[in-house]
Subunit: 167 residues, 2 copies
Amino acid sequence: MGKVDILKLIKERRSVRKFQDKEVPMQTIKNSLEAARWAPSGLNNQPWRFMVKSKQEKDKLAQYTKFGQVVKEADKLILVFLDKKSSYNYQKDLMAIGACIQNMLLYVHSLGLGTCWLGEILNQAKEISRELQLPSQLEFVAAIALGVPAGEVKLTGRRLLKDLTLV
Amino acid sequence: MGKVDILKLIKERRSVRKFQDKEVPMQTIKNSLEAARWAPSGLNNQPWRFMVKSKQEKDKLAQYTKFGQVVKEADKLILVFLDKKSSYNYQKDLMAIGACIQNMLLYVHSLGLGTCWLGEILNQAKEISRELQLPSQLEFVAAIALGVPAGEVKLTGRRLLKDLTLV
Protein backbone atom coordinates (compact mmCIF):
# COMPACT_ATOMS: atom_id res chain seq x y z
CA MET A 1 0.00 0.00 0.00
CA GLY A 2 1.19 3.50 -0.82
CA LYS A 3 1.89 6.25 1.65
CA VAL A 4 -0.56 9.02 2.32
CA ASP A 5 -0.71 12.50 3.83
CA ILE A 6 -2.81 11.75 6.91
CA LEU A 7 -4.30 15.23 7.28
CA LYS A 8 -5.24 15.29 3.58
CA LEU A 9 -6.73 11.79 3.91
CA ILE A 10 -8.82 12.84 6.91
CA LYS A 11 -10.03 16.06 5.28
CA GLU A 12 -10.91 14.49 1.95
CA ARG A 13 -12.79 11.43 3.18
CA ARG A 14 -16.55 11.78 2.66
CA SER A 15 -19.54 9.45 2.66
CA VAL A 16 -19.97 7.60 -0.62
CA ARG A 17 -23.58 6.71 -1.43
CA LYS A 18 -23.24 5.54 -5.03
CA PHE A 19 -21.18 2.55 -5.99
CA GLN A 20 -20.04 0.78 -9.13
CA ASP A 21 -21.05 -2.82 -9.67
CA LYS A 22 -17.58 -4.10 -8.78
CA GLU A 23 -16.40 -6.53 -6.18
CA VAL A 24 -14.10 -5.58 -3.31
CA PRO A 25 -11.77 -8.50 -2.53
CA MET A 26 -12.29 -10.17 0.85
CA GLN A 27 -8.63 -9.48 1.65
CA THR A 28 -9.38 -5.74 1.51
CA ILE A 29 -12.23 -6.24 3.97
CA LYS A 30 -9.92 -8.19 6.25
CA ASN A 31 -7.36 -5.38 6.13
CA SER A 32 -10.11 -2.88 6.95
CA LEU A 33 -11.09 -4.88 10.02
CA GLU A 34 -7.41 -5.16 10.85
CA ALA A 35 -7.26 -1.34 10.89
CA ALA A 36 -10.42 -1.30 13.02
CA ARG A 37 -9.20 -3.70 15.66
CA TRP A 38 -6.12 -1.61 16.53
CA ALA A 39 -8.20 1.28 17.84
CA PRO A 40 -7.72 2.33 21.46
CA SER A 41 -10.38 1.49 24.05
CA GLY A 42 -10.81 2.02 27.77
CA LEU A 43 -8.88 -0.63 29.69
CA ASN A 44 -8.12 -2.02 26.22
CA ASN A 45 -11.47 -3.83 26.43
CA GLN A 46 -12.02 -3.82 22.64
CA PRO A 47 -15.82 -3.92 22.79
CA TRP A 48 -16.24 -4.05 18.99
CA ARG A 49 -17.43 -7.05 16.99
CA PHE A 50 -18.03 -7.31 13.24
CA MET A 51 -20.12 -9.12 10.69
CA VAL A 52 -19.54 -8.85 6.93
CA LYS A 53 -22.50 -9.24 4.62
CA SER A 54 -22.55 -9.44 0.84
CA LYS A 55 -24.89 -10.40 -1.98
CA GLN A 56 -28.36 -11.68 -1.00
CA GLU A 57 -27.65 -11.51 2.72
CA LYS A 58 -26.69 -7.87 2.36
CA ASP A 59 -29.63 -7.03 0.12
CA LYS A 60 -32.02 -8.54 2.63
CA LEU A 61 -30.89 -5.96 5.19
CA ALA A 62 -31.60 -3.11 2.75
CA GLN A 63 -35.30 -3.24 3.66
CA TYR A 64 -34.54 -2.05 7.19
CA THR A 65 -33.38 1.44 6.18
CA LYS A 66 -34.71 4.18 3.99
CA PHE A 67 -31.19 4.27 2.56
CA GLY A 68 -31.67 0.76 1.24
CA GLN A 69 -30.40 1.81 -2.17
CA VAL A 70 -26.97 2.56 -0.65
CA VAL A 71 -26.91 -0.90 0.93
CA LYS A 72 -27.93 -2.54 -2.35
CA GLU A 73 -25.37 -0.69 -4.47
CA ALA A 74 -22.52 -1.28 -2.02
CA ASP A 75 -20.52 -4.46 -2.50
CA LYS A 76 -20.31 -5.20 1.23
CA LEU A 77 -22.07 -4.17 4.40
CA ILE A 78 -20.02 -4.31 7.58
CA LEU A 79 -22.17 -4.55 10.69
CA VAL A 80 -20.63 -3.29 13.91
CA PHE A 81 -21.72 -4.48 17.34
CA LEU A 82 -20.99 -3.59 20.92
CA ASP A 83 -20.24 -6.75 22.86
CA LYS A 84 -21.98 -6.24 26.20
CA LYS A 85 -19.87 -8.94 27.83
CA SER A 86 -16.69 -6.94 27.05
CA SER A 87 -18.27 -3.64 28.05
CA TYR A 88 -17.20 -1.75 31.13
CA ASN A 89 -18.66 1.71 30.47
CA TYR A 90 -21.29 2.23 27.78
CA GLN A 91 -20.32 5.83 27.02
CA LYS A 92 -16.61 5.05 26.65
CA ASP A 93 -17.34 1.87 24.72
CA LEU A 94 -19.32 3.84 22.14
CA MET A 95 -16.50 6.34 21.71
CA ALA A 96 -14.01 3.49 21.32
CA ILE A 97 -16.24 1.95 18.65
CA GLY A 98 -16.34 5.34 16.90
CA ALA A 99 -12.53 5.35 16.88
CA CYS A 100 -12.52 1.81 15.54
CA ILE A 101 -14.93 2.72 12.73
CA GLN A 102 -12.90 5.80 11.83
CA ASN A 103 -9.77 3.63 11.46
CA MET A 104 -11.71 1.51 9.00
CA LEU A 105 -13.09 4.48 7.05
CA LEU A 106 -9.69 6.12 6.72
CA TYR A 107 -7.98 2.93 5.64
CA VAL A 108 -10.65 2.18 3.03
CA HIS A 109 -10.48 5.75 1.73
CA SER A 110 -6.69 5.46 1.39
CA LEU A 111 -7.31 2.64 -1.10
CA GLY A 112 -9.60 4.81 -3.22
CA LEU A 113 -12.65 2.87 -2.07
CA GLY A 114 -15.77 4.39 -0.57
CA THR A 115 -17.78 3.97 2.61
CA CYS A 116 -21.03 5.24 4.05
CA TRP A 117 -21.47 5.05 7.82
CA LEU A 118 -25.17 4.34 8.17
CA GLY A 119 -26.97 5.55 11.28
CA GLU A 120 -30.64 5.57 10.35
CA ILE A 121 -30.65 1.77 10.06
CA LEU A 122 -30.32 1.61 13.87
CA ASN A 123 -33.98 2.56 14.10
CA GLN A 124 -34.63 -1.04 13.07
CA ALA A 125 -31.98 -2.55 15.36
CA LYS A 126 -34.50 -4.86 17.01
CA GLU A 127 -35.80 -6.23 13.71
CA ILE A 128 -32.25 -6.70 12.39
CA SER A 129 -31.16 -8.51 15.56
CA ARG A 130 -34.05 -10.88 15.05
CA GLU A 131 -33.30 -11.31 11.34
CA LEU A 132 -29.66 -12.16 12.10
CA GLN A 133 -30.53 -14.23 15.18
CA LEU A 134 -27.98 -12.25 17.13
CA PRO A 135 -26.99 -13.42 20.61
CA SER A 136 -28.37 -10.97 23.19
CA GLN A 137 -24.89 -9.87 24.23
CA LEU A 138 -24.43 -8.06 20.89
CA GLU A 139 -25.88 -4.59 20.44
CA PHE A 140 -26.06 -3.44 16.85
CA VAL A 141 -24.52 0.07 16.77
CA ALA A 142 -23.44 0.84 13.20
CA ALA A 143 -23.38 -0.38 9.60
CA ILE A 144 -20.79 0.56 7.01
CA ALA A 145 -21.63 0.28 3.32
CA LEU A 146 -18.46 -0.28 1.32
CA GLY A 147 -17.63 -0.42 -2.37
CA VAL A 148 -16.04 1.14 -5.42
CA PRO A 149 -17.30 4.75 -5.67
CA ALA A 150 -19.37 5.85 -8.66
CA GLY A 151 -19.58 9.46 -9.75
CA GLU A 152 -18.92 12.57 -7.73
CA VAL A 153 -18.90 12.63 -3.95
CA LYS A 154 -20.90 15.33 -2.19
CA LEU A 155 -18.45 17.58 -0.36
CA THR A 156 -20.08 18.44 2.96
CA GLY A 157 -18.51 21.26 4.97
CA ARG A 158 -17.62 21.59 8.62
CA ARG A 159 -18.00 24.22 11.32
CA LEU A 160 -15.01 26.51 11.65
CA LEU A 161 -12.42 25.64 14.27
CA LYS A 162 -13.03 28.95 16.07
CA ASP A 163 -16.66 27.92 16.58
CA LEU A 164 -15.63 24.58 18.06
CA THR A 165 -12.98 25.77 20.45
CA LEU A 166 -13.67 27.25 23.85
CA VAL A 167 -11.15 29.24 25.83
CA MET B 1 4.15 16.96 6.72
CA GLY B 2 5.52 13.67 5.43
CA LYS B 3 3.50 10.84 4.05
CA VAL B 4 2.67 7.78 6.10
CA ASP B 5 1.50 4.19 5.67
CA ILE B 6 -1.96 4.50 7.23
CA LEU B 7 -2.26 0.86 8.34
CA LYS B 8 1.19 1.01 9.94
CA LEU B 9 0.26 4.31 11.62
CA ILE B 10 -2.95 2.84 13.02
CA LYS B 11 -1.25 -0.34 14.24
CA GLU B 12 1.69 1.38 15.86
CA ARG B 13 -0.14 4.13 17.71
CA ARG B 14 -0.26 3.49 21.45
CA SER B 15 -1.05 5.51 24.57
CA VAL B 16 1.91 7.56 25.76
CA ARG B 17 1.98 8.16 29.51
CA LYS B 18 5.46 9.63 29.95
CA PHE B 19 6.47 12.88 28.34
CA GLN B 20 9.59 15.00 27.97
CA ASP B 21 9.59 18.52 29.36
CA LYS B 22 9.22 20.05 25.89
CA GLU B 23 6.65 22.37 24.45
CA VAL B 24 4.34 21.41 21.57
CA PRO B 25 3.72 24.48 19.37
CA MET B 26 0.17 25.82 19.38
CA GLN B 27 0.11 25.42 15.58
CA THR B 28 0.47 21.65 16.05
CA ILE B 29 -2.49 21.68 18.43
CA LYS B 30 -4.51 23.65 15.89
CA ASN B 31 -3.67 21.12 13.19
CA SER B 32 -4.72 18.30 15.52
CA LEU B 33 -8.10 19.94 16.06
CA GLU B 34 -8.27 20.52 12.33
CA ALA B 35 -7.92 16.74 11.87
CA ALA B 36 -10.55 16.23 14.56
CA ARG B 37 -13.17 18.52 13.06
CA TRP B 38 -13.26 16.67 9.72
CA ALA B 39 -14.63 13.50 11.28
CA PRO B 40 -17.99 12.20 10.04
CA SER B 41 -21.08 12.59 12.22
CA GLY B 42 -24.75 11.71 11.92
CA LEU B 43 -26.55 14.37 9.84
CA ASN B 44 -23.14 16.11 9.88
CA ASN B 45 -24.13 17.57 13.27
CA GLN B 46 -20.51 17.81 14.51
CA PRO B 47 -21.36 17.53 18.21
CA TRP B 48 -17.71 17.92 19.34
CA ARG B 49 -16.26 20.94 21.15
CA PHE B 50 -12.72 21.44 22.45
CA MET B 51 -10.77 23.24 25.12
CA VAL B 52 -6.98 23.31 25.22
CA LYS B 53 -5.28 23.61 28.60
CA SER B 54 -1.60 24.11 29.36
CA LYS B 55 0.64 25.07 32.27
CA GLN B 56 -1.07 25.92 35.60
CA GLU B 57 -4.57 25.52 34.18
CA LYS B 58 -3.70 22.02 33.01
CA ASP B 59 -1.94 21.09 36.24
CA LYS B 60 -4.97 22.16 38.25
CA LEU B 61 -7.03 19.50 36.44
CA ALA B 62 -4.50 16.80 37.37
CA GLN B 63 -6.07 16.51 40.83
CA TYR B 64 -9.27 15.11 39.32
CA THR B 65 -7.76 11.86 38.09
CA LYS B 66 -5.60 9.17 39.59
CA PHE B 67 -3.54 9.54 36.42
CA GLY B 68 -2.66 13.10 37.40
CA GLN B 69 1.00 12.44 36.73
CA VAL B 70 0.21 11.89 33.02
CA VAL B 71 -1.66 15.21 32.94
CA LYS B 72 1.21 16.99 34.68
CA GLU B 73 3.91 15.57 32.44
CA ALA B 74 1.97 16.24 29.22
CA ASP B 75 2.49 19.61 27.62
CA LYS B 76 -1.17 20.08 26.76
CA LEU B 77 -4.50 18.65 27.81
CA ILE B 78 -7.26 18.73 25.22
CA LEU B 79 -10.71 18.51 26.77
CA VAL B 80 -13.46 17.16 24.54
CA PHE B 81 -17.13 17.96 25.06
CA LEU B 82 -20.42 16.85 23.60
CA ASP B 83 -22.50 19.92 22.75
CA LYS B 84 -26.02 18.98 23.79
CA LYS B 85 -27.50 21.73 21.63
CA SER B 86 -25.97 20.11 18.50
CA SER B 87 -26.91 16.61 19.60
CA TYR B 88 -29.55 14.58 17.84
CA ASN B 89 -28.84 11.07 19.11
CA TYR B 90 -26.64 10.52 22.15
CA GLN B 91 -25.38 7.09 21.06
CA LYS B 92 -24.42 8.25 17.55
CA ASP B 93 -22.96 11.49 18.89
CA LEU B 94 -20.61 9.56 21.15
CA MET B 95 -19.44 7.37 18.27
CA ALA B 96 -18.88 10.48 16.13
CA ILE B 97 -16.81 11.99 18.94
CA GLY B 98 -14.80 8.77 19.10
CA ALA B 99 -14.09 9.11 15.37
CA CYS B 100 -13.12 12.74 15.89
CA ILE B 101 -10.71 11.83 18.70
CA GLN B 102 -9.16 9.04 16.64
CA ASN B 103 -8.45 11.52 13.82
CA MET B 104 -6.60 13.63 16.35
CA LEU B 105 -4.65 10.71 17.84
CA LEU B 106 -3.56 9.43 14.43
CA TYR B 107 -2.50 12.86 13.22
CA VAL B 108 -0.50 13.55 16.39
CA HIS B 109 1.16 10.12 16.18
CA SER B 110 2.12 10.80 12.55
CA LEU B 111 4.20 13.74 13.86
CA GLY B 112 6.06 11.50 16.32
CA LEU B 113 4.21 13.08 19.25
CA GLY B 114 2.31 11.14 21.90
CA THR B 115 -1.21 11.12 23.31
CA CYS B 116 -3.07 9.43 26.11
CA TRP B 117 -6.86 9.28 25.85
CA LEU B 118 -7.95 9.60 29.47
CA GLY B 119 -11.20 8.00 30.55
CA GLU B 120 -10.94 7.69 34.31
CA ILE B 121 -11.02 11.49 34.68
CA LEU B 122 -14.70 11.37 33.64
CA ASN B 123 -15.51 10.05 37.10
CA GLN B 124 -14.97 13.65 38.22
CA ALA B 125 -16.86 15.22 35.32
CA LYS B 126 -19.16 17.14 37.67
CA GLU B 127 -16.30 18.63 39.65
CA ILE B 128 -14.41 19.54 36.47
CA SER B 129 -17.49 21.18 34.95
CA ARG B 130 -17.74 23.29 38.07
CA GLU B 131 -14.01 24.10 38.06
CA LEU B 132 -14.18 25.22 34.43
CA GLN B 133 -17.55 26.94 34.88
CA LEU B 134 -18.82 25.07 31.84
CA PRO B 135 -22.15 26.05 30.32
CA SER B 136 -24.69 23.29 30.98
CA GLN B 137 -24.97 22.45 27.30
CA LEU B 138 -21.45 20.96 27.33
CA GLU B 139 -20.94 17.42 28.56
CA PHE B 140 -17.33 16.54 29.32
CA VAL B 141 -16.65 13.22 27.54
CA ALA B 142 -12.88 12.84 27.10
CA ALA B 143 -9.47 14.33 27.81
CA ILE B 144 -6.37 13.86 25.69
CA ALA B 145 -2.94 14.35 27.23
CA LEU B 146 -0.46 15.36 24.54
CA GLY B 147 3.28 15.89 24.44
CA VAL B 148 6.71 14.73 23.33
CA PRO B 149 7.07 11.05 24.31
CA ALA B 150 9.73 9.99 26.82
CA GLY B 151 11.10 6.45 26.95
CA GLU B 152 9.54 3.29 25.69
CA VAL B 153 5.84 2.94 24.94
CA LYS B 154 4.03 -0.08 26.36
CA LEU B 155 2.89 -2.23 23.44
CA THR B 156 -0.57 -3.49 24.33
CA GLY B 157 -1.98 -6.30 22.20
CA ARG B 158 -5.36 -6.81 20.61
CA ARG B 159 -7.83 -9.68 20.28
CA LEU B 160 -7.40 -11.72 17.11
CA LEU B 161 -9.57 -10.82 14.15
CA LYS B 162 -11.12 -14.30 14.15
CA ASP B 163 -12.38 -13.66 17.69
CA LEU B 164 -13.97 -10.36 16.66
CA THR B 165 -15.71 -11.48 13.52
CA LEU B 166 -19.02 -13.28 13.44
CA VAL B 167 -20.30 -15.17 10.46
